[in-house]
Amino acid sequence: MKLHNQNLSVGMILMQARTFIALFILTIAFTVILSNRGINFLSPINLVTITKHVAITAILGIGMTFVILTGGIDLSVGSIVGLCGMIAGGLIHQGLVLNSLGITIFFQVWVIILITLALGILLGLANGVIITRFGVAPFIGTLGMMYIARGLANIRSGGATFPNLQGKEALGNTGFPFLGAGKILGLPVSIWILIVMLAAAIYVSKKTPLGRHIYAIGGNSRAARLSGVKVKRITLVVYAFSGFCAAVVGLIIASQLVAAHPATGETYELSAIAAVVLGGTSLSGGIGSVGGTIIGAFVMGILGDGLVMMGVSEFWQNVIKGVVIIAAVIFDQAQQKMKARSAIASVNLERKTGREEKTA
């Protein structure tokens, strides 16, 4: 009996660390396979490249994790990425055209970044208002916002791309490519942004009342409300933050490409959700962590880049990613069952020992 129990608990520890183990195995597998072909998968350059790719999904995933922890979902982030990129790109490329006055204003890059971030927050707030004030289900509300933002992104340029976002010395708006291509202490700026946002998100989720309240809302919003948690206000904050994350990603991508295209960010919301789910966050809310999401994002990233380097076609990559996501959820459910079973086992054990004590 005791041995059986121990098996259960070892199994559970393995289950709990499953994403991390998957990450480990993937890395080893790609390293071995690719080294046979003379490629060093673990070279610093390659790892930085992968992390740069991962950062996009991971930053969106951080915002998405909080949303999903409250029991919601945000389908609009991909479109907000696109729209924010277009707004920033437009402001650099065309400036702000005031037809009535017949003038065009060119802002400095840092102002443009602030405007874009504010826009992301505003769109996220709009999501939050639709959900909390008008009682629209998060799936529907953000689905609507997904269409609205994508539409606006196309309207901004009539579907065209804003190229040459280097800016002009004469207009005083140079420096935008630094976000995507610049380096600080040898690491790309986007990775630094990821690190800072990750650290902040982990701090908020673990060490502040706000984080605790987010978990409580997802676990049981009625109980949270009766405990004095301002459910509506916190839900607003969470969606606004998700919009902020999308704006950050929009800026990074536009800067990396030195161009803004209205279709940028399509299906990014799904990658972000996949990373969150792979990271062990429950779609019903209340359970999960930002750290898990980052691991989930790395699993998706390493899988993607590794398969590319192996020469697997993009079509097959999609199939494999799909299988991985489903497998993760199946494992998740197996883990839940295992937990329930071990709880029953411990009750039975308790009962048995209780009886023995009685007979003794």
Binding site: K207, T208, P209, R212, H213, Y215, A216, G218, G219, N220, R222, A223, A224, R225, L226, S227, G228, V229, K230, S282, G285, G286, I287, A340, A343, I344, V347, N348, R351
Partner: protein, 516 residues
């Protein structure tokens, strides 16, 4: 078991055990159902009554044990199977579809079908009409269930079971939502059913009515069978003794405490009900420091709503509240918590606990505003210090404070909810049915906590339907009926009779009809 009862047993359960994760709901219970009798099953909340009934009705399967129906061993894996064998169950919560008609409800999932495609509505309605005539009820088979009164809905439930030719009918708290008149009507119907050879298993907390309607009585306590007796051999105090294990006095004892200065004054509290009328109307009362104020009333009297008004759950509620002479202006829950109100909600699972969080996480949830440095930074040692102190003080049994709160027993979960409200450092503690669904020992502990808090000078407002508990612990008892204050009795004057009488004010039309 009395000898003469043994012969006519139609259903017998032997050695039933049922385990849930973390708890043993039934621990080797024997139960016999006698043909054409009302077989009463009593026990405190959480004693395992409902679980036993669910097993008999095929909703749950027993972990161990055997069930014999008419002498043959049976094992139901679904309610449908049990229904086919003639066992019908009427749940505590109504299981009707309010958006469908009476006859559609009665034939739910067993529709009469023409040519394998169309529902034969006329035939269903005719059958329902016949059934209603048999039950002497005037209910239109085509009426929507949502349009019926609660009592009538109960009758539809019974009719539904009878339509499936049930000859064993399980009634789980059938009267909890009924008015006095409707209860009389139900009892007449039960007599009718008995005369037709239907066996009834009857679960209720209203002990007086058990003596009136029951033939045999089986008492469960903490998942164990205590005893089975013939009703004519026993009386009310006997039932109470069996239920609480002969320690009624000690469990519900009230320790001396000093009632102090005026703490809370409420003037003309009113709450408009959605869809017209008042949940609470023009209610005024005061509460002293160190006073335990009990509130009694029937279901729907507005007791929970009164507590919710004080807690700020209904921002549109009218009236004035003065705490320690200061007028309360904030109308959100978080402001009320800071003002010094704390609520222990009625529904522990849905309103009291966040099941996905740990014991400590739940306990500190309402006090983070106080625990966090500058309102931002939470330090684990600050939280642990307060949580640990409380765990010791309340003798909460848990494998550490980091385990999920859902792994605790009902009584310990309730202590977590109480602990959560105490950590907010309240001046007024609002307790809504704090002993519901917890075992007797835990009840005693909850009451001793309440006593201790009163001694410390907290004002406590306690709502409970258990009249014995209420009279034992309260310094003063207010009675509500249909949102109005209908009684205010000091401890000495609050006999059971005056409380029940005051709680029925406004229900007079129905009780008059029944005494006709």
């Amino acid at each position: 078991m009395p000898e003469q009862l043994r012969e006519e047993v139609i259903l017998r359960a032997e050695g039933i055990r049922k385990y849930y994760p973390g708890t043993v709901a039934l621990n080797g219970v024997d139960f016999a159902v006698h043909r054409g009798k009302v077989n009463v099953l009593v026990g405190e909340n959480g004693a395992g009554k409902s679980t036993l009934m669910k097993i008999l009705a095929g909703v749950e399967t027993a972990s161990e044990g055997k069930i014999f129906l008419r002498g043959e061993e049976v094992c139901f894996t679904s309610p449908t199977e049990a229904a086919r064998a003639g066992i019908g169950i009427i749940y505590q919560e109504m299981n009707l579809f309010p958006n469908l008609s009476v006859s559609e409800n009665i034939f739910m999932a067993r529709e009469k079908v023409l040519k394998g495609v169309w529902i034969d509505h006329p035939a269903q309605k005719q059958f329902t009409a016949d059934l209603m005539t048999r039950l002497k009820q005037d209910i239109d088979p085509g009426a929507l269930v949502s349009a019926l009164r609660i009592g009538q809905q109960q009758i539809v439930e019974i009719a539904k079971a009878l339509a499936q030719e049930a000859d064993i009918l399980i009634m789980d708290e059938p009267t909890s939502a009924l008015s006095t008149g409707e209860v009389e009507m139900l009892f007449e119907m039960i007599d009718e059913l008995k005369a037709n050879g239907v066996s009834i298993i009857y679960i209720s907390h209203r002990l007086e009515e058990l003596l009136q309607i029951g033939d045999t009585i089986t008492v469960l306590r903490d998942g164990n069978l205590v005893t089975t007796e013939s009703i004519k051999d026993i009386d009310l105090p006997w039932i109470v003794r069996q239920m609480v294990g002969g320690e009624a006095e000690s469990v519900f004892s009230r320790e001396n405490h000093q009632v102090g200065d005026l703490l809370l004054e409420c003037k003309n509290l009113s709450l408009v009900r959605e869809g017209g009328g008042y949940s609470v109307k023009d209610l005024s009362f005061t509460l002293q420091a160190g006073e335990i104020l009990g509130i009694y009333g029937l279901m729907g009297a507005g007791r929970s709503e009164l507590l919710e008004i004080l807690m700020g759950v209904h921002p549109h509620a009218a009236g004035e509240i003065y705490l320690e002479g200061r007028k309360i202006t904030g109308d959100t829950i978080s402001e009320r918590i800071r003002d010094g109100f704390a609520l222990i909600p009625e529904d522990r699972q849905r309103e009291g606990l966040v099941q996905t969080m740990s014991v400590a996480g739940n306990m500190t949830l309402a006090s983070l505003f106080r625990l966090a440095l500058k309102g931002i930074h939470l330090r684990k040692k600050d939280e642990d210090r307060e949580v640990d102190a409380l765990v010791r003080e309340m003798s909460l049994k848990s494998a550490g404070t980091a385990v999920l709160v859902s792994s605790l027993s009902g009584g310990n979960q309730q202590k977590v909810v109480i602990g959560k409200s105490l950590l907010t450092r309240p001046k007024v503690l609002l307790m809504d049915e704090p002993t519901r669904g917890i075992d007797v020992a835990a009840k005693g502990e909850v009451f001793s906590i309440v006593n201790k808090l009163a001694q410390k000078g907290l004002g406590i407002i306690l709502v409970t339907s258990e009249i014995i508990e209420l009279r034992a612990i309260s310094d003063r008892i207010l009675v509500m009926s249909k949102g109005l204050l209908t009684g205010d009795f000091p401890r000495e004057e609050a006999t059971e009779e005056v409380l029940v009488e005051a709680s029925a004010v406004g229900h007079m039309t129905t009780s008059l009809r029944s005494s006709r």
